[in-house]
Every structure is written in structure tokens, then in C-alpha cells.
């Protein structure tokens, strides 16, 4: 009798009159049912909550073709800033959904479109027409006009958008912040 009591961690003897062994096992059973029920309840609440909280972890970026405007906006041999609104955005995103990019018109037919983000740590690179370089203000990365790495800590050249000319407009395939893990062109990974 005493042994069964110490099993459930109770110090006091079971009340006299009732068969002790039986009452202890019922208490044990209730405890087990209670714990099990709460485990199920916890999972019912917890799993969906975790799923919601971590949903962005598994979400993949949706890219789509975005127009940067008519071709005549871009002069041959020049590089200039263009801005588009991110294809997936919310009303409360404000200006943050306005994404800048650098458009280089090599000649009448060929273009290059670069992300604004330095490949080192994502700071905005600036174009210098006279030295034909992109320079980054954060850690001093520099890129040539074709986007290739010129100097400094960046591990690769600028991120380049897929682009096409359609209906007299320049279009790029965009929709996410480019990083080393997820650059803009698939073959760059």
C-alpha cells in the first residue's frame, strides 16, 4: 500500500475507509487522461500557430514581368535609374514597394538591368557616368558598367534581371529582394 502511494508522489496516506489502491490508480488515470488531453489540445493550437508564424519560411517568391516603361526612356550607351512597383505588394507597404533598378542600354537592341542592391550586403549602389562604375557607399564595393565585379568585398558581380522587349516596352522579371541564395536569374544560383 505504501509503495503504491509513493508511486504517485503522495506523502499522505489515502483517506481511511476507501480502498487505497483503487483510488490511487483512478487518480493516476485521471492525471494521464488530463495530460494526454492537454497534449492533443496543445497540438491543435500549436501546430497551426507555428504554421502561420513560419509560413514565410516555406513561401516561394512569385516573380512576374514588370514594365519599366517605353524604350525611348533609355538612351543608347547610357545607364539610368528606373523604378517599378513590386508585383506583390500591400496597401500599407507605402514607398517600400517602389523598387529601383539600373537600366543600361548597350545599343538599340541590347539591354542590361541590374538590381540596386550590392552583392556584398545589399546597400544601394550608385552609378558614376564619368568613371563608368557602380560604387557602393557601405563597404566600398565597385562594379564595372557591365555589372562585373571591379573591386572591394562583393563576392560576385551585380544581380541582373531577366528582361525582354515587348510592345515597345522594356520588361523585367522581378518580385523579390535579390540575395546570394536567391539571385534574380536562375542560372546565377
Amino acid at each position: 500500500m505504501n509503495e503504491t502511494n509513493s508511486d504517485c508522489g503522495c506523502k499522505k496516506a489515502a483517506p481511511a475507509g476507501s480502498p487505497p489502491a483503487k483510488s490511487v490508480s483512478r487518480r493516476n488515470l485521471l492525471l494521464k487522461i488530463g495530460a494526454g488531453l492537454n497534449a492533443i489540445a496543445g497540438a491543435l493550437v500549436g501546430v497551426p500557430l507555428l504554421g502561420y508564424a513560419l509560413s514565410s519560411f516555406t513561401r516561394t517568391s512569385k516573380t512576374s514581368w514588370i514594365s519599366l516603361g517605353p524604350l525611348n526612356k533609355f538612351s543608347e550607351g547610357e545607364t539610368r535609374l528606373a523604378v517599378y512597383r513590386n508585383p506583390v505588394s500591400q496597401a500599407w507597404d507605402g514607398d517600400t514597394a517602389e523598387i529601383p533598378c539600373w537600366v543600361r542600354r548597350v545599343d538599340s537592341e541590347s539591354f542590361q538591368v541590374f538590381a540596386i542592391n550590392c552583392t556584398h550586403l545589399g546597400c544601394p549602389v550608385r552609378w558614376f557616368q564619368e568613371s563608368r562604375l557602380f560604387m557602393c557607399p557601405c563597404h566600398g564595393g565597385a562594379f564595372y558598367e557591365d555589372g562585373s565585379h571591379a573591386s572591394g568585398p562583393p563576392p560576385r558581380g551585380l544581380y541582373e534581371y531577366e528582361h525582354k522587349v515587348e510592345g515597345g516596352e522594356l520588361k523585367v522579371l522581378g518580385g523579390h529582394l535579390p540575395t546570394l541564395a536567391e539571385p534574380l536569374k536562375k542560372e546565377d544560383v
Partner: protein, 483 residues
Amino acid sequence: MLRSIALWLEDRLHIAKLFQATAGHKVPPSTNSWFYVFGSGTLLCFVLQIVTGTLLAFTYQPSASEAWTSLQYLNNEAFLGWFLRAIHNWGSIFMVAIMSAHLIQTFLFGAYKYPRELTWVSGCFLFLCTLGMAFTGQILRFDQDAYWGLGIGASIMGRVPFVGAQMVHLMLGGAIIAGETLSRFFSLHVFLVPGLIIALLSFHLRLVLTKGINEYPQPGRVVIKESYEAEYEEEIKKTGVPFVPHVIGKDLIFSGSLIIAIVTCALAFGPAGPSGPPNPTLIHTSPKPDFYFLPIFAALSLLPAYMETFLVLVLPVLAIAALVLLPFYSGTGEKSYRARPMAVVIVLLALTTVGLLAYAGTFTPWSPHMEAWRGAATPAADVQGRSPLELQGAILIQSKQCRNCHALNGEGGMRGPALDTVATRLTSDQLIRQVIQGSGNMPAYGKNLRPAEVTALVAFMETLRPSYQPAAQDSSKHASSKH
């Protein structure tokens, strides 16, 4: 009447017992020291941050399109809004500083040793949570620096192997830095991390009561697991004094001075930012983190590229593990810093490293000065009496943006070497090669300069030396001409 109310409360709440078990608990008299005030100081900062933060949330809009405007409103229109923001800002700075002092003090005094391992472990996590609050708080100041700071964070996440892209999405709450990003940082800063801090803090304080506060260590008084606790209890029994009122005096003086210092800084320097609006199309910006993260920002520029990913992703994990596990590999023995020279060396080394990196981070010598090419004039002495060709080169030095990285007479970028005495270091052949091919950290300008421009540029640079120093000479040519 008052007495009967007091007695009634005592009867219902057992205040005297509660007092004896908490504020009135006995501590070794040696802890009545100015070195033991940092913990309560950190706690006070935390309380101040909760109060001011709650009040800021009365007005602040955690929405990407409104946050910046609501901060402007707090700064300029809301009654004393600027003061509230200033206290919250300076409170955070002081909290990080005082908490660092607390960490260093407990390290040097061996307070982490047996049997206070878990007090130390919870303290380490409190430190990390506080840095987390500093980072997320800087994001809530949703300005240009916050926007590009998130870009830096996302770029670091993008270096995580295998799940880099997913980590970026988890951090940003989507594919770009936008509304969902700010909202999740708001939730982290206002609910999640403070909740965690309160839980850890309760644990931390509970342990201070359970295992007692570390006595002021004496060299030669080593911790031995078998006897330490008995000795400590004996000491408390013999000489222990109640924390309140015997020891709290110094804490009170320190806390009062701390609040006055925070308020003084808030009045004198005001709130931080916001800088420009978080509009990514405004690219004429030089993002910079708040000062606690300047050392990391600087390290990211100065590290060699090949070890960058390792040092950014792996080293912090190792460093945190070494810190958290400290009591488990160094849990006994000498406590006093006077008998632990390596502990003193480690602290000095860490402070020097962090201090020097932060110092470098304040003026970023590695960044080009974006406006130097049109903002910093060519020194008059460098153009006086020069030939037309050399003058043409002087113009090119400006217009080709060389000055963004190369200083003349102390003005211009510091990324490359200053050019004031370049002719004493490089011959004309070497100058031509350097300009056309670049090397090290210099881009190659071969594609962007016509041959005539290179000739003019080099002709000018050959004049850049003091009259009393000879020009660099090609020793191989010199040798061959003698034959």
C-alpha cells in the same frame, strides 16, 4: 487607523515574510561595493524602457507607410513626444552599456562559478535579448538606415547554406522589405523579446535569491565544489546583513545618477532620427547602423572576403557558446581577477577590438566619398606652374572620380592611398599599369579612359611629390643604362 490597515494587509499578504525572503534577504557584507551596482542599474533601464516604450506605442504606427510620419509627429508635434523618444533612445544606449559593465564585472569577479552557473547562463541570454531589442528597435525607427539595415540583415541571411532564401523570407515576412517586415519586427520588439526578457529576468533574480549573490572574491580563496556552499552559508549566518537597508544605498545612488544621466543626454542630444524616409528609390544615402552594431559593420568591411561568411555566420555561434558554457569548463578555482590574469587580458582584448572597430565604423575609411569628385577642390599648389598636359590630367583626376577614393591634401576618399606623394612611390610605367589594369582594391580604368587621357593623368600624377623628395625610379632601367 493606518496601523489597522497595515496589520490587515500584513495578515492577508504576509508582507513581512515576503520582504525577508526577497529585498531583506541576507547577503555577505563584502557585496556592499560600488562594483555590485550594475545589475540593478540594468534592471532600472529595462523598467524605464518598458514605461517609455508603452507610451510611445500610444502614437507610433507600425505600418510601413505610416511609421516614419508618426515619428515625425512625435518629434515635432506631440506634446513632449521628442522627449519620450529621446529617453527611450538614451535608455537603450545606457542599458547596453550598463549591462556590458555587469557582464564584465561578473566575469572578472568569477561570479559565474559554482554554484551560480544558471545565473550566468540566464544573464548571457538576457544580454543577447537586449542586443536583439537594440536591433529591432532600430528597425522600428523605420527610416533609410532601418530599410538598408534590413537589407544588410537579409544579405547575411542569404549566405546561410541550403536554406538561405527561406531564412531571408522568414526574416522579411515576404519577398521584399515592406509592410510585413516592419510588422513582424514590431511584434518582436514589443511582445516577443520583452516577454522573453521578463521570463529570463524572473529566473535570473530567483537564482540570485536561491544561490545567493557572489561574495567579493579574494585571491587565494578558491571555489571547491564540496565545501563552497557550506562555507557561504556559514558566512551568511555569521556576518550576513539584509540587502535592504544595509546594501541598497549604493544601488540607489547609482540608479538615481543613471536616470539623471539618461535625462541629461535626452535633453542635450534629443531623439535619434528618423533619417530620410524609407523609400528605396532615394539611393543617395550612406546607411549606417546604431553605434552598438558599428563594430560588426566595420568588421564586415575589413574582413578578407574568403572568411567573411564563416566569421559572420559561424563565429558568433562559437563565441556565444563559449560565453554561455563558461561556467561548465571553468566552474571552480580562483575567482578574483587578481589571480586570473587571462581573464583580464580577455576583457582588455575584447574591449580594444570592439572599441577600435566602432571607432573605424564612425568614419568608414573603406567607403568612397561619393561627392568628393565634385565637392573637394584640387589643391592650388598641385596645379601651379603645371604644363597644359599636366593640367588636363588634373581635370581628369576630378572628373573621372579618382578623388572619391584618393585624397589630395587630406580631402577625398580614404579607400585608396592619398595621391599627394604618389610620384615618389610609382614610376610613370607603374602609374600607367595601375590606372589601366587596376589591382588590389582599384578597378581597372583601361576601358573607360582613352590613351590620351591616361597620358595626361599620368603626366599630372608624376608631378605629385614634394620638391625635396626624388621621383620613383625604375632601377632596372637605371642598371641597364650604366652598361
